[in-house]
Amino acid sequence: MAFWNKDDKGVALGEEQVLNVLKKVQDPDLHKDIVSLGFIRNLKIDNGTVAFDLNLTTPACPVKDQMRDEAVALVKALPGVQNVEIKMTSEVRQTPQLDKSALKGVRNIVAVGSGKGGVGKSTMAVNIAASLGAAGARVGLLDGDIYGPTTPIMLGLDLPPKSVGNRMIPQEAAGLKFISMGLLVKSEQPLIWRGPMAHKALQQCLFDVDWGELDYLVVDLPPGTGDVHLTLAQAVPLTGAVIVSTPQDVGLRISMKTLRMFQQTRVPILGIIENMSYYICPHCNSQDHIFGHGGGRRAAEQLGIPFFGEVPLDLAIRTQSDIGSPIVLAQPNSPSGRTLREIAERVAAQISIRSYETPVLEVE
């Protein structure tokens, strides 16, 4: 046996020693160490080489690199260790109760809502979904805005979905599976529906679509508090809701109503995104807070919920949306692309937290 395989007392380096030091690495979101959380998989010690998988709760983990670097440094410091090989893997947890529903292949359903229209809710939903997909997650997008569906434009695909038997096959674009009422109805035709029709349409988009296995199903809601929201809150156990707002107080006050509605139906609020936060001048790159500043962050602080970030009013976000190529994929490293990807990671982190915290409830 080689000398480097022994520690001070002459005993070979064991799994226990490795796990002991790895216990010092905390997941900052779940407030537990990575060993207790069961993140360490396939630990192998071969001579001076320690290899293991670090299996996180989302591929879009915002602190992935930090945790990996900490783990490498700690294991490397053990006597006799020369090499540390970490494979980063992930397994998205399922929200309790979802496994018993008709959508049992779906692990988390997240609603994106706002109080009023035109705050960029669909833009946020599409870019969050696309970011999670690009990070390696299996993602679906349900455009629940039955009255003004926009995702077919933003994803650049406007063909009716095929169906097998009485089930629809979702369309695929930008690495996402997606369904929109815009795909089902001719684009110039308005939908003039009463409540029960809206209810039925959403139910079909949820249950009559072959979503298959998904880590995240993002549901883009219509503005306000109406039939679609209530149907969604009743039909499925949502992991949580993301609220999109503009910095203006009036926008926020209306978003507050949406927030209350989610609270009444016990849908956890994952956090607030402030969109159109400031304007970036395309000529001189200066920033202007044309709708005021800091409203979203203040509201989040008051309510004690996470603030996901500020998205600028940036021409590039709009033009990328209009040509059906989300900015997080087309220009991932542009300032706005980066901001949106970071927001998606924060959303993913909150979803992971929720999947740990939501208690299992069943009727016995």
Binding site: Q234, A235, P359, V363, E364
Partner: protein, 111 residues
């Protein structure tokens, strides 16, 4: 003192049908509620049992058999229960708040 509200008092930790006509709910604040099917049926909040405009009760105790049973109990989203009764009715959605508010125990009735 007022009736217990707030998340703890209205978050169920255990929901159990202890007999065909009796439902037990344990709440996060430690309280335990026992609901009898005929009583709960009479408090159905749906639009056909409680007039939407006037709030008047359209179903009265004389309409409900004493031996009414829970045929099916389902959790609605994360905020309510929906019952199918042995009389076939099934459209009422009872929020957790409402179920706690209706707790018939002497302790809750006093406040």
């Amino acid at each position: 003192m007022s009736r217990p509200t707030g998340t703890q008092a209205t978050t169920p930790t255990k929901i159990k049908k202890i007999s065909p006509g009796e439902l037990m709910v344990q709440w996060a604040d430690g309280h335990e509620t026992h609901h009898l099917a005929p009583v709960l049926r009479g408090m159905c909040p749906c639009a056909s049992c409680k007039d939407e405009m006037t709030g008047m009760r359209m179903i009265l105790p004389i309409h409900i058999p004493d031996d009414l049973e829970f045929r099916k109990i389902e959790i609605v989203g994360q905020y309510a229960l929906q019952f199918e009764w042995s009389d076939g009715h099934h459209t009422g959605i009872y929020s957790f708040e409402y179920l706690r508010e209706l707790c018939p125990c002497p302790e809750c009735k006093l406040v």
